[in-house]
């Protein structure tokens, strides 16, 4: 060899966008929400988030080690799984539960399928679903944000007020469930009009670590879309369909049902629309498929929120749509530009 030459099939150049850089950008986009979470829930948020991320990394490393596969921590997807999982659990979640959830998410949700890219379901949502199913009580213990509760000691996890209810969605759910209690919904809808809307936007409310601050989530989501990390189709489909489907019951009877704006801003909808439903691995590849997927997520969410037993349906609707993603792809095959060849 005269010169250290290389031969390979064409093309011989490629673009400097790697899996790692994509994942890194997602992590960056999640940072505003993390900041908001730390602001509202103080060290609790930090502890839970750190536990989830670290456990995810360790679990992935262990699986790779067991299978004698090259280390894949560098692609950073496990960090995202940890962050998203942490963002979708209550701040007061005990550390042991965070560990179980993260390990389940990575091992059963991802590595048994073959690791990055092979999983059918969103690992973080699998982890969350497992936690919800296992520790329902712990998963519905909401912490009063520091902004509302002036007693919340700064920078310590102990002794903060934990209340068992009072997420906005839970109010609205109760109103639907007990059909005769009109006041609850009225309260909700009225609160959207005054004051509550602001709280929904800023995040000064009970809820999961990363879901409360709508503004931070929107900033992160726009960052992802504008930098081309995700396409806009899934978020748009989710948001539009949520809006449309939730206005139907609202216009039929606005005494019982919450307003579309409330639905858009409450619960895990925004983080789901921007960060979770858009997980490329578990959503369809094609644009048409992405529309179907997004509409499905929005529709099911509203279905579960209004008719189901749970106050929030984002996680379940994402998991359900994940499961039909292969079917969607099967039936939304893209057609070559020159049309389908005969015979």
């Amino acid at each position: 060899m005269v010169q250290n030459l290389t031969v390979s099939p064409s093309p011989h150049i490629n673009k400097h966008h790697s899996t790692q850089s994509i994942m890194l950008n997602v992590i960056i986009a999640l940072m505003p929400s993390l900041a908001a979470a730390v602001f509202f829930f103080r060290m609790k948020a930090v502890y839970v988030t750190a536990t989830c991320v670290i456990t995810c990394l360790i679990s992935e490393w262990l699986c790779n080690w067991y299978r004698k596969k090259p280390n894949s921590l560098g692609d950073l997807s496990a960090v995202i799984t940890g962050l998203i999982l942490a963002f979708s659990v209550p701040p007061a979640l005990p550390i042991f539960a965070a560990i179980i959830g993260s390990a389940f998410a990575i091992i059963v949700g991802k590595m048994v399928f073959g690791g990055l890219g092979a999983n059918i379901f969103n690992p973080a949502m699998i982890g969350r679903a497992f936690l919800t199913a296992s520790f329902g009580g712990l998963m519905t213990m909401w912490t009063v944000p520091a902004t509302i509760d002036p007693n919340m000691p700064v920078m310590t996890a102990a002794n903060t007020t934990v209340m068992t209810q009072a997420t906005p969605l839970a109010w609205s759910k109760e109103a639907i469930k007990s059909k005769n209690v009109k006041d609850e919904t009225k309260k909700v809808n009225a609160s959207v009009a005054n004051g509550m809307l602001k709280n929904l936007l800023t995040g000064s409310r009970g809820g999961c670590i990363g879901e409360t601050c709508s503004i931070a989530l929107i900033i992160g989501g726009l960052y992802l879309i504008l930098t081309g990390i995700i396409t806009w189709h899934i978020p748009a489909a989710v948001l539009i369909s949520t809006f449309v489907f939730s206005s139907i019951p609202y216009f039929i009877n606005s005494n019982y049902y919450a307003s579309p704006v409330f639905h858009l801003l409450s619960g895990g909808l925004l983080i789901g629309a921007f960060f979770i439903a858009t997980d490329p691995v578990t959503s369809p590849l094609t644009i048409k498929g992405r529309w179907i997927f997004g509409i499905g997520v929005g529709g099911l969410t509203i279905l579960i929120r209004t008719l189901g037993a749970y106050p929030e349906g984002m996680m379940y609707s994402i998991l359900l749509m994940n499961s039909v993603t292969p079917l969607i792809e099967k039936f939304c095959k893209i057609v070559p530009a020159g049309g389908i060849p005969n015979a």
Binding site: M1, V2, Q3, N4, L5, T6, V7, S8, P9, S10, P11, H12, I13, N14, K15, H16, H17, S18, T19, S21, I22, S72, D75, S77, G114, G115, L116, G117, A118, T231, P280, V281, S283, L285, T286, K333, I334, V335, P336, A337, G338, G339, I340, P341
Partner: protein, 452 residues
């Protein structure tokens, strides 16, 4: 000016084009090489049989190999000399193939380009369609844009499938390559003459020249020339969007004419002929001066080349020699590519000769190539979005990888034009195009279409 198409197509990528490395270098003639290896298979269709034997003497322009088949093109000697051997020689695509090895005699003068033969006064009416066909066939002209399809076959009018539009492909969308660009600037009238000869031969008057809009001077010079000539007044310049692979014929047809060539089909099916500018120039020269195709302009460029430039080189010249002409390799050159970095063929044997379709030698330096470090597909869909023929590269590639060719075929593997956009864009560094090419070979072998 209005065009039926939007001057762009769906998909494609925007690699850094590096054209400035050689775009200002005028076409240079070079000394006659000592030895030439002329490949017997330089085009699509029947492989030529040698007409000369070892030790025969040959003269410049002498037909040295030919095939009887209709889809084929003869091969001529670029120099005076003797046949040293007929033996295996490195071939950029086939690996090793038969070549006629000619030792040039000392009396050779380097061939000079002939653009000055052509000017405003050119009159295509002097040449009948039959004459044009014969001249092109006798000159052994094949498509110089890359595919190497015998041009005579393309320009023969077929009453059953008349050609309604002619597109001259002047996009040159691959990074680094500037040979067509230089041709346009320097051989403007020769190209226009070639185009009008094609139109004469096919009896079709809609001619478009598709030029990427990052070459405004070429667009200008053509526009001016068209205004001044009468024979080329029907030619329209289409400033298409700069995007790889704008020069792919399907993409160009879509951009300019808004027509889709059917999957698995060819442009004549939608009544279009696409021809490269260099091909046009060769046609003009062959018809007017009766000279065969023995030389072509080759861009030697890349960050691994000391003095990039555009050279008028004889076919059969060894790549290594031409690289030396361009100053040689830099110390960090790692990949020598016959063609551009997107579709070209990497070679390692510097004795590999040029063929009629080799428009460029690109030498990449360490910093240009990205070490392939394949990670799992994250299903991001970028490959689909960038695919100019709108197929699903990742599904196909994974089908091939897991030996499930039926899946690959269900996702229209055969429609792939091997442009390389998907591999280029893939964040997981998966060699999608490589898998697809492999899959096509496997399918062909399954169908026993390909000899082993």
């Amino acid at each position: 000016m209005n065009f039926p198409g939007k001057l762009t197509f769906k998909g494609g990528v925007h690699p850094n084009d590096y054209k400035t490395l050689s775009s200002q270098c005028a076409i240079k003639t070079i000394p006659v090489p000592k030895q030439l290896s002329i490949m017997l298979s330089q085009h699509i269709g029947a492989i030529c049989k040698p007409l000369v034997n070892k030790k025969d003497t040959v003269t410049t322009g002498q037909l040295i190999a030919n095939a009887d088949a209709f889809v084929s093109a003869g091969i001529h000697s670029p120099v005076n000399g003797t046949v040293k051997d007929i033996a295996l020689c490195s071939h950029p695509v086939l690996g090793r193939a038969q070549a006629i090895i000619i030792e040039s005699s000392d009396d050779n003068q380097p061939k000079q380009p002939v653009p000055n033969t052509f000017d405003v006064s050119f009159n295509p009416a002097l040449y009948s369609a039959d004459k044009i066909f014969d001249a092109v066939r006798n000159a052994g002209i094949v498509g110089m844009g890359g595919a190497g399809f015998p041009t005579s076959v393309k320009i023969k009018a077929n009453p059953k499938a008349p050609i309604t539009d002619i597109i001259i492909n002047a996009c040159e969308c691959e990074p680094f390559i500037t040979c067509d660009y230089r041709l346009m600037l320097e051989w403007t009238y020769q190209i226009l003459a070639g185009a009008s000869l094609i139109s004469k031969s096919l009896g079709c008057n809609n001619i478009y020249i598709g030029i990427e809009n990052n070459k405004p001077d070429a667009i200008d010079i053509f526009n001016k020339a068209i205004k001044t000539t009468s024979f080329a007044s029907n030619i329209k310049i289409a400033p298409v969007k700069t995007k790889y692979p704008q020069g792919g014929e399907r993409q160009l047809i879509k951009s300019i004419l808004n027509k889709e060539v059917p999957t698995g089909g060819i442009p004549p099916m939608v009544g279009v002929l696409v021809s490269n500018v260099a091909t046009c120039a060769a046609i003009a020269e062959a018809v007017v001066l009766n000279t065969p195709l023995t030389h072509r302009v080759v861009t030697v460029s890349g960050n691994g080349i000391k003095n990039p430039g555009n050279f008028y080189a004889p076919i059969g010249m060894a790549v290594g020699e031409l690289i030396e002409t361009a100053g040689g390799l830099t110390h960090d050159a790692v990949k020598i590519i016959l063609g551009g970095p997107m579709m070209g063929f990497a070679i390692a044997d510097l004795a590999t000769p040029l063929t009629k379709t080799s428009g460029a030698i690109t030498v990449l330096a360490q910093k240009d190539i990205v070490k392939r470090n394949q990670t799992p597909c994250i299903r991001c869909g970028r490959c689909i979005a960038s695919c100019p023929v709108n197929i699903n590269p990742t599904k196909i590639a994974h089908g091939v990888k897991h030996n499930q060719l039926d899946i690959a075929q269900q996702y229209y593997m055969s429609a792939c034009i091997e442009c390389g956009c998907c591999t280029y864009i893939c964040p997981a560094d998966i060699d999608l195009t490589g898998y697809i090419k492999t899959g096509k070979i496997l399918v062909a072998r399954q169908k026993k279409l390909m000899p082993k």
